[in-house]
Subunit: 118 residues, 2 copies
């Protein structure tokens, strides 16, 4: 098992095509990783040198996504909430997903261990 | 239109669930972005400060993916070929996607402008 991982929580109530979904998850992964690189260099480095583990999990809606963001933010964990520009498929400003970490896997599980894989 | 973008080319001949696909694309996006940050700082910075545009396009199989990698590599463009660890769904070492750039959009289009969106 990876000792460090990045978790991307995705809203399960939106209808996104698979390409759209993949781009949203990629936005979350890149932005959250860059934040971690700058603010939690050790977490980033361990994760980078290990396997750069990433998992996608589901949340049910915008409210659950924002609540999750609030919880990790309060703990000072690097994260990135992604809002869609709304050019296609979604209304402008619609939240789509939240990137969390990379961070120690055990710490991640405290916040997201109960969520199902996408 | 974004002046800089990152393109992720995805094999269209694999059967990947949407979560699996999103993680593979995220691997490509993060790794290629980090390579660009180190080797093409100006491209990375312009893209980062703009909109971090990303698009997913399709290639038909492993051969087309590797051919595309060869072409961008020859031009010195930062890129990341992703192979799956094979723990689920795919055989170990299966290529899944290729992250290209960020790079100037016009340059990207020379290599991937003919490919359809995922």
């Amino acid at each position: 098992m990876a000792r460090y991982k990045q978790v991307i929580a995705v809203r399960n109530d939106l209808k996104m095509g698979k390409g759209k979904l993949a781009v949203q998850v990629a936005h979350a992964a890149v932005t959250s990783a860059e934040k971690a690189r700058l603010s939690h260099r050790e977490w980033f480095k361990e994760w980078w040198d290990e396997s750069q583990a990433k998992i996608c999990v589901k949340v049910k809606d915008d409210a659950e996504l924002r609540e999750l963001k609030k919880r990790v933010e309060e703990e000072g964990i690097p994260n990135a909430l992604i809002e869609d520009a709304g050019l296609t498929q979604l209304e402008p400003g619609t939240t789509t997903c939240l990137g969390i970490g990379p961070l120690p896997a055990e710490l991640a599980d405290r916040f997201t261990g109960h969520l199902k894989l996408l």
